[in-house]
């Protein structure tokens, strides 16, 4: 899960990392109250989970009341790459001389965290990484020992950070790694760390993503997720406990197991259709779960056709079939045609149970997908 900048900065501040003075605001009036307290220049920053907010017009620097009011009005409520801006962070502008990049992420190839520092901060770090990889100094961290002080200093020096403020930057990095570990982050980055004319260092932006699998032991962070309003359907999937990703097509897809569901999506594409979603009902799904999954997919108004692909291991085909019958039996008319393919454990029993008035049954994955794609084309 992703934290908003303002959430991450609160956590940073509690950890002793210097951040600019700021206030969260959701109305123009609140923005004006905030600039009253903070003064000018003031940055007005959209709080949405979108990369490149600045370029997209989601960050503006106001120099006076008129600008503040104008920018607040522009940014609040704007659509930023599909996300509506409900809140902005009003933040004291920093008069900087240099911008650095400082981050910690999990290097899955090495199976350990890696700290990264670059003097080319303030720009898209992924661009830096691909165009001038040597401009980013990296230091792998042994998770049993944590980040040694010499490593924090070493990577900062290696990046070519000025000796004058190297210790302060190393200290930010050390705090970031401590947070990374304590808060089960998958990624933390500050881009840029600003260096003022006085040599002070300030975390001017904050990215903090948390390992979803660790939210059970980060209850306060898990609560923040609820605050971060998501796509309605994704929120619904969350309530149902499904792995769900909404896509832009019209063929709704339900299956069990991430690899098989991804494969089903790929086959829809392969046969000329467009997947509307990824929905994994998981292992051992019972009837109710199946009904919930159908509810999910029917709730997506883009969906014109559904394919239900189950390969039973733990999941039993007869249970799935019962669930499908139950869920579809509630409708006077089935909203969208549903193709079902059952294989593996109790697949034959399932096929027999399935009500052929409600669903179309196919026995191979390829046939099922092809038929669903055809249904979608016919239904458009």
């Amino acid at each position: 899960m992703k934290l908003h900048e303002y959430q991450a900065k609160e956590i940073f501040a509690d950890a002793g990392i210097p951040v600019p003075d700021s206030r969260l605001a959701s109305t123009v009036d609140e923005v004006m109250d905030a600039v009253d307290e903070i003064g000018y220049p003031a940055a007005i920053k959209a709080q949405v989970h979108v990369g490149g907010r600045g370029k997209a017009g989601g960050i503006k620097i106001a120099e006076d009341d008129q600008q503040a009011r104008q920018y607040a009005d522009e940014i609040l409520g704007m659509d930023l790459k599909g996300y509506t801006v409900d809140e902005v962070l009003v933040e004291a502008g920093v008069d900087f001389e240099n911008e650095l990049y400082v981050g910690v992420t999990m290097d899955r190839g090495e199976g350990e965290p890696v700290a990264m520092v670059s003097t080319e901060g303030g720009v898209d770090i992924e661009e830096v990484a691909s165009e001038t990889p040597d401009a980013i100094a990296r230091e792998h961290i042994d998770p049993a020992f944590g980040l040694h002080p010499y490593q924090a200093r070493g990577v900062v020096y290696e990046a070519g950070v000025d000796r004058e403020y190297a210790n302060d930057v190393a200290s930010i990095l050390t705090s970031l790694y401590d947070l990374f570990e304590e808060r089960d982050a998958s990624e933390i980055e500050v881009n840029p760390v600003m260096i003022t004319a006085d040599g002070d260092v300030v975390a001017a932006d904050a990215v903090m993503n948390i390992d979803d699998d660790a939210l059970f032991r980060q209850p306060d962070l898990a609560e923040m997720e609820d605050e971060a309003a998501e796509d309605d359907l994704e929120a619904k999937a969350n309530d149902y406990g499904f792995d769900y990703v909404r896509l832009s097509g019209n063929v709704g897809i339900i299956g069990n197991g991430a690899g098989l569901v991804m494969t089903t999506l790929d086959l829809v594409d392969h046969y000329g259709g467009e997947p509307a979603n990824f929905l994994d009902i998981g292992g051992g799904a019972k009837a109710e779960r199946v009904a919930n999954a159908l509810d999910m997919v029917f709730s997506d108004e883009n969906v014109d056709s559904v394919v239900f692909n189950i390969f039973g291991g733990i999941t039993r085909g007869d249970e799935v079939a019962k669930g499908i019958n139950e869920a579809l039996g509630r409708f006077d008319e089935i909203p969208k045609p549903v193709v079902v393919r059952l294989a593996g454990t109790n697949a034959e029993e399932g096929m027999e149970i399935l009500n052929a008035d409600l669903v179309q049954v196919e026995s191979t994955l390829e046939d099922a997908v092809q038929r669903a794609v055809e249904n979608a084309e016919g239904n458009q």
Binding site: P113, P143, D243, T263
Partner: protein, 289 residues
């Protein structure tokens, strides 16, 4: 022949008194797996399916001469259970649990570099040598003994591919699900290496998916070290960047690494045909034999 497990493998089931552990221990025993013990703290002295339960894996391994462990323990406690097995010691640990925090696995990964024990998983269906033994949750009935090794990051996709193979009368030496998490104990390269060394494995199927660079490294290994032919499949061609597709590890990063294109290209460059559909994969394998 087979890799890693066979009829002689003596298995301890961690979490055998829990719902999942109990059910699958029974399934394993039914399949013929030599389940010699269970291990659950505080439950020592009990029996499940006639198998004695011990408080610790160390005791189970010592008393019952177990050499492999299967972990059915909830995510919050699973890394500790893996550590316990690694230090017990057994030769092989299969961690089925899905949802272990990544930082826990980073620590496990560090320990793995210090010991001789192999870990398979976590978040995996396990490993099966058809007709001999299975460690995990794979449905035994769909597998057939034969000449093809299979390694996969996914569970049900494995079953799909296996059923495509079986339809064509192609059986398996061993099938191993290495797991869908970002940090796993056994990589594609590790498994391919074992299959390459196994004289009975005539061909290998490798089912990858988006995320990470394990498939790219496998491609490199195959082109440099393997004589045994390999056919591939990559799931997630249509996955958008930045979205986790079910598996914690199945995610194309914002910087564009871990894409299906990159993996397919690497495999093709290594001479590995990659099927567009699971049945195409089976076709390729048929061509090898």
């Amino acid at each position: 022949m087979s890799i890693l497990v066979d009829e002689n493998t003596r298995v301890v089931v961690q979490g055998i008194t829990g719902g999942e552990g109990k059910f699958h221990a029974g399934q394993m025993i039914d399949y013929g797996t030599n389940v010699v013990a269970g291990a659950v703290p505080g439950k020592g002295g009990q029996e499940v399916h006639g198998v004695p339960v011990y408080d610790t894996v160390r005791e189970a391994a010592r008393e019952e001469d177990a050499d492999a462990s299967v972990v059915f323990v909830p995510p919050a406690f699973a890394a500790d259970a893996v550590f316990e097995s690694l230090d017990s010691p057994v030769d092989l640990v299969v961690a089925i649990t899905e949802g272990i925090p990544t930082q826990d696995m980073a620590k496990v990964n560090k320990r793995l570099s210090e010991v001789d024990t192999r870990l398979i998983g976590p978040n995996c269906p396990g490993i099966i040598t058809p007709g001999e033994t299975k460690l995990g949750i794979l449905p035994g009935n769909i597998f057939e003994s034969g000449d093809v090794g299979l390694v996969s990051r996914s569970g049900t996709l494995t079953y799909q591919v296996v059923s495509n193979l079986t339809e064509r009368g192609i059986g398996q030496t061993t099938a191993v699900g290495i797991g869908g998490d970002p940090i796993i104990g056994t990589s594609f390269v590790d498994a391919l290496e074992l299959f390459e060394e196994d004289p009975d494995t005539e061909a290998v199927v490798m089912c990858g998916e988006i995320g990470g660079e394990d498939e790219e490294q496998a491609a490199k290994y195959i082109s440099q070290n393997m004589d045994t032919p390999v056919a591939g499949f990559i799931a997630g061609r249509t996955a958008p960047p930045g979205k986790r597709m079910g598996h914690a590890g199945a995610i194309v990063s914002g910087s564009g690494t871990g894409t299906a294109e990159s993996k397919i290209e690497a495999l093709n460059d290594a001479g590995v045909p990659v099927g567009d559909t699971p049945s195409e994969v089976a076709e390729h394998v048929e061509g090898f034999l």
